[in-house]
């Protein structure tokens, strides 16, 4: 993550990153609300960010981070906002004898860890792939 942040801030500027991310988030959210496929949303957001970004690598990378983050947060919010999901969590809390809050925290930590892991991994993969192509 440190690598990611420094790359973003040094590569094309933090402000541009924020703008790109916001645009990406908006685009993906609208697209998801309309019932679209997340993968296509990801591509669309990448294109939007590309407009703002000076280098394609950072554009794609920040797009990955932004879309994965929004997907993760959206997933968390929609899950925890669901009556049935909360009923299930309550049930598991009762059965396991663990406070509900702890379960929710574990869930959030795991979800965020998953998001972070996947975004960082994608970031690195993209950088490596695109860098090697650029060099080639």
């Amino acid at each position: 993550m440190i690598d990611l942040v420094s790359s973003i801030s040094s590569g094309f500027g933090f402000l541009r990153f924020l703008i790109a991310s916001a645009a990406s988030i908006t685009a993906v959210s609208l697209y998801r609300i309309a019932g679209g496929d997340p993968l296509i949303g990801f591509i669309v957001s990448g294109l939007i960010i590309g407009v703002f970004a000076s280098r394609i690598i950072e554009a794609l990378a920040s797009s990955v981070v932004a879309t994965t983050a929004i997907a993760g947060i959206g997933f968390l919010i929609s899950t925890l906002n669901s009556t049935r999901a909360m009923a299930m969590l309550n049930l598991v809390a009762d059965i396991a004898g663990v406070p509900l809050l702890i379960l929710i925290l574990i869930y959030i930590v795991l979800a965020m860890a998953l998001v972070t892991l996947s975004s960082v991994s994608l970031f690195y993969i993209l950088r490596i792939v695109l860098s090697s192509r650029a060099k080639g």
Partner: protein, 855 residues
Amino acid sequence: MGRGSLLKAVFPLTILVVLVFSLISTPAGVIIRLMDPYSGVLKSLDVGETFSGRIKLQGLKDRVVVVFDSNNIPYIFAESEEDAFYALGYLHAWYRLWQMDIQRRLASGRLSEIIGPETIDVDRFMRIVGLKRSAEKTAGWLMENHEAVYRLLAAYSMGVNQAISKMKSENRLPLMFKLLGYEPEPWSVADSILWAKYMAWTLTNFWYPLALTYLYIKLDPEDVNILWPVHPYFQDNVTVVPGSGAIDELSINVDPDILRGLNWFEEWATGLDLKDPELSSKLEYLLIEAMEMFGELPRGIGSNNWVVSPGLSSTGYAMLANDPHLPLNLPSLWFIVGVKAENYSVVGATLPGIPFPIIGSNGVVAWGLTNAQIGVIDFYLEKLDPGDPTRYYFNGEWLEMSQVKEVIRVKGGDDIELTINITVHGPIIAARDGLAISFRWTGNAGFANDGSGVTRESIAAYYMARARDLNDFIDALRFWDVPSQNIVYADIYGNIAVFVPGLFPVRVVALPTGVEVPVIGSRSILNGTGGYEWIGYVPYEHMPKSINPDRGYIATANQMNIGPYYPYFILGGWWDPGGRAHRIHMLLDSKDMHGLEDMARYQSDVFDWYSYMVLNDLIDAVRDADDPRFSYVIDLLSRWDHLMLKDRVEPTIWWAWFSALQDAMFRSYLTDRGVTYRFYPPPSTVVWLIKNAKDSKWFSPSFEDVARESLSTALDRLEEMFGSDIGNWSWGKVHRLYLAHLSMIPELSRGPFPEDGGFGTLMNAPIPWDLDILENPIYVRNGPSWRFLAVMSPQTPGCKIYGVYPGGQSGNPVSMFYDNYVDLWLTYRYIKLQCPNTVEDIEKRIAVVELVPGD
């Protein structure tokens, strides 16, 4: 990015992964696993939920449409039967996969693999019984000999397996798999047969010959025959099949009263001198070992069904009612479904794991089941070779036992290697001191009585649902092997009938007079060295049956099946004491015409026949007592209508009094003779003794004293528990229903609910006659597991068929359909089932699912 940066990233990631995996097996790890957003419990939210949409399924031949009504009952419309049963398999698994899997594990002795050492004894027992072995042989036999039915079972399995694959690939296995941390194996035809075998096994009353032998060893022979008579008291006028029992010109060759009066434990009948001190001493330990293995004596397993002819029906059509009394759990044993395919149309109750409806209607005929209770298991005392206990003596020679080796895998423990020894009779369940007990059960003996375990009830169940008239139905019953049942029948042509199909093993017993009598079942263990063998089964043509009897109705409640002149003397069996049978007859005799509402009212009837029979005798006995509490209690009970209603106090007082009375009559008698189990005679015996033997030793020093002391004890115990204000003693405080989840996890269970009814009421809700349960509550755990009513009018789709069970269609505990029938069931309401001709006929639909062939 340089290589160093990549390594820096990989290193912490590796640590993280190792950490997560190391936690998986710890309690914290289990929580992490359950909360994993990728494959944890929240991924299973939608499994067992109903939705509309289109699903592509591999192996399906044509499009299948499933329409769900507002009660979440699926109606399957398919071109072919194979596709219909494929879809049913998919639906069963979608809603009840864990239940199906745990049932399969229970029946095959594989619980310990997922639970741990706690279930080793259950697993060992089920391995010995060998249902899985018989099921596999039956599946093989069906494949070779009855391909039509096998193909449907295979299609069903394919549907189940498609659902399993889908859930697994999407990380959406039901909650219980995730809690227990395992995945289901593929479903097979043998698995469906296995569950049917298990149901048959539990309906076998397998424990009673052991218990009666034990009692015979410990007690005076005469007492055993009075307390546990060959046939229960008071039942000759209410047998399942009306009449004398003779079939045409054929009847039993000895006066049945003489046969009933014989001591069937004696050597001429059993080949064993059970009163020989040396033998009885050895046998006692063996019996205890066997009984411990068989577990707690079942209580309250039974059922009601009856049919009313058009002449007694205010609807003008024949009517049928059925409520099988079975364990009440969540998820329920039952799953309601409608199936329509070419030449096949049925609505009714299925057992998840088995494709063919067990109780239901096809719009032309309807059928319902109660357990026949006739003895279909015999226990044999094997003589072992002192030098080689794997050999046993039979028909004059030492034979080698066949051996089956099995391994019980235990979660968190070592594997257990098990060697099952099998004689010509069947598996050995206990052995010591050169003796062993084996048993022969029809479900393992098979329809050819060759020990193959091949039984054909799946064929019967399939053809029963296809029957278009009485003859078709009778033909289908030819294949009904286990469990033996009282099957009532009604059709749109106004016919009513009852049949008692099944494999009834026949032995020929030479009486002390030398006369040979064909008998079914036994009352005790038999000599296994030869001479006491089954010679075959009662021929199908001699199956007890009654078609359109003059009285216009037929009623069964696990009572005696047929009159005493039946050509085979029914020696073995464990019938209901008769209170329910008498009550059905009372109700059906009470009016000239009965309506559908009456049928429903009878199913919820809570009239207690036993109190009706003896309460006045008991009240008269205590009327002059000087206990100041008695007068109020007597006044209450004198005005009581014998209804076991949960908000009334009279049922509580009656139950406590009758319990204390039985303690006074039998507790010290049994304990003084070394009986360590609470084996009390059936309540019909107590009623008979009160009516016929008030001066007998069972009421010592006098009937009045015993009645007085027992009432006093009852009131003392109730006061201790609920205080001196009798108004606080409502029946619902003692008598409560608990719907336990199959896992016994309280959070997934429902109740306790104060409940009407009791041991002997039609609305069957048994708790023991035991005052100790006041301090240590025992909940009602059995009862009407499926209430079914059918008016056999020829109208479809506007049929009048109703049903309900205490549970819900979904096994998903957060689904609204997990327990939505419970309240309906508790308040005696029904769900209207539909008999559609087309998809468009389904009313109140909530979802439509299209299943289409695909990869």
